[in-house]
Each structure stands twice: as C-alpha cells, then as structure tokens.
Amino acid sequence: MSVTAYVMVKANTGEADRVKTALDDTDDVVEAHIVAGDVDFVVKVETDSPGDVKRVVAGDIRSMSGVERTQTYIAMDD
C-alpha cells in the first residue's frame, strides 16, 4: 500500500535554499517547493505505509535545522 502525503512546512530561517536542498535529499520526498504565504514549503511525500509518513515527517523533516513546525495531509484518492 503506497501513501501520498502533503506536508506544509513553516521555517524560521531565511536559508530557504539550504532547507529545500535538505528536503530534496530526504528519502521518500518526491517534491519540495518554496511557497508564498503562512507556510514556507510544501513537500510531497510518497511512502509504503502510513507509519513511514510519520518517520519522514516527525523524524527527518522536523529535525532539520530551520524547520519550526509541520502540518501533514494524507491524500485519500490514491
């Protein structure tokens, strides 16, 4: 079972390029974009299970320097 999730990432650093590179280099992250608005990145994650989403978001993304908080939305139509 494959799971797709969209993760809204709020940063607290101006080093957007560094964070984007770190996101791009993270396993199971398939897309990462710098966006305007009250979050700074939208990240698309594709994993084999819902548990892996938690590993990527809580483990990898939220532990990155410059990441303040995340909000995750799991896609239901695929």
């Binding site: 940063a11 650093t13 101006g14 957007a16 710098i34 305007a36 608005g37 009250d38 700074d40």
Partner: protein, 265 residues
C-alpha cells in the same frame, strides 16, 4: 536597497514614493511631488497610518478592508474604502488597482498580502508587501518576483525605539545597503565643524551630506552656505568603513563609539 536611492534623487526631479524606512527626514523634500494614486490593502495600524502619511503628502489613497467595523472607522477618517477580501481581484479593481501607481499589501495575513501583490503586478502596478516575520524578508526578495518591495514594520519600529533609548547626538536612520547607512548627527558645542559652512565640511569620499536642518527647524536640501551651529542636524549617507571618520568630524568622538552605535542600525 537601491530603491531608497530614489528618495535621494527625489531632490533632483527623478522621484518615486519609496520613502519607506526613512521616517520624516525627507518629508519636506518629497512634498512637492506629483499627486499619485495608491491602493492600500488592510486598514489596521500599519495600513491606516501609511494611508494618512500619503494623504498628508497630497496623494490619493483608496483602502481595502475586510472587517466592516474597521471599514466604518476608515470612512469616518475621510478615506475611500472598499470593503471585502483584499485578495480578490474584483475588489482591487474597484479600488482602482488598474490606474494606481502602487499597491501596498499591508494586512497581517501573508496569504492575502501575496495574493494582492500578484493581482496588482498583473495590472502593472508597483507592489509593496508587508511580511510578518523577519526571516522571510530574504526569501521574498529572492523568490517573489511579483513583489517590488518588502516591508517589515517591526524592524522600523525597533530602529525608532533604539534611537529613542540611545538618545544623544547620533541616530541611525536607515540601512540603505549592507555597508551603507544614513545617520543623523546633531551638532554640539564640541563639534570640530561648529561654525563652519557645509561647503567647508570635507567628508570622506564614501560619505555624502543628504539633508540639513537648523536647530528646531525642518530638514531640507543642504546648501553650501548653510552654517553649522549647535543643535543643527546633518543627515549623512556613509559607508560603515568611514562612519567613524564622519562622526569624528561632526561630533569629535571616537570611531569605536560610532561603530558601536551603528551596529544593528
């Protein structure tokens, strides 16, 4: 920020209303400027105050405000106000974005501000966007092509608060670029240049006198025969490297003190 230099050029006729961050210093120099049209999105503390300053300088301002009680206050203050969501194109068109010289997206909501700038940019309107956290300044400068200028009101407030706390005869007014600052000096009895004319003040090559004001009088365009007396104020644009020399010349104090005061300008 190159935009701030337009304020300086304002005294020679090539002008734009880009005085953000310069406080009242250039107010009089800009006051003759042609009447311009502005749309201000958000009539809170920042938006309404900006609208007042623009109106005082003779410009035409239309505000866009989403809260009906605030919109009523805006109209009571004599402003034109379009009521509704400032991120909707039809409202911005109603407010006159198609013929405006610039739009200021000054709400506290980043999404609204950015959307308003996108729409205004589409209508070939200059755009100024308020951001809510300082770390975002560099990100928007780099990535938000639709936004011409970014303002972070808290930074300007902090400069004012710092100047008030420091007091004294030197005020950092604005960071023009990373190594370039505008500093306002107040001439004291100890100033080495006291009693001299401005034409006799030889500043370092990386410094320029921008404005001059007699004690208690308004700031204006500096003239060669303006004499420096106690209480007069001189606004100088200077590279950080020569700020100490400028201070030494105008106030007679040490370079170290100047550098300490200039940090975090």
């Amino acid at each position: 920020m190159s935009a701030d230099f337009d304020v300086i050029r304002g005294s020679t006729g090539d002008h734009h209303p880009r005085a953000s961050g310069w406080g009242q210093l250039f107010y009089r120099d800009l006051s003759y400027q042609a009447r311009m049209r502005f749309v201000i999105v958000g009539a809170g503390r920042v938006g309404l105050r900006t609208a007042r300053v623009l109106r005082e300088e003779g410009h035409e301002v239309v505000l866009v405000e989403g809260h009906d009680d605030q919109a009523t206050r805006v109209r009571d203050a004599g402003f034109d106000c379009v009521e509704g969501d400032g991120s909707r194109e039809e409202l911005l068109v109603e407010a006159g974005v198609e013929n405006a010289d610039a739009l200021g997206a000054l709400t506290g909501d980043l999404n609204t501000n950015f959307a308003a700038c996108l729409i205004a940019n589409h209508h070939d309107c200059r755009t100024v966007m308020r951001i809510d956290e300082d770390y975002r300044e560099g990100i928007y400068q780099k990535y938000a092509d639709e936004v011409d200028e970014i303002v972070y009101p808290e930074r300007l407030g902090a400069i004012g608060a710092k100047n008030a706390l420091l007091g004294g005869n030197l005020q950092a007014i604005a960071d023009v670029a990373e190594h370039l600052q505008v500093v306002l000096f107040t001439i004291t009895d100890d100033s080495p240049m006291k009693g001299y004319n401005l034409s006799e003040v030889t500043l370092p090559s990386q410094a320029r006198v921008l404005a001059f004001g007699k004690a208690g009088g308004p700031m204006g365009v500096p003239l060669p025969d303006d004499s420096l007396e106690t209480g007069d104020r001189v606004a100088v644009l200077a590279d950080f490297d020569v700020l100490g020399d400028v201070r030494q010349l105008l106030l007679g104090r040490s370079a170290e003190e100047t550098a300490a005061a200039a940090v975090e300008g």
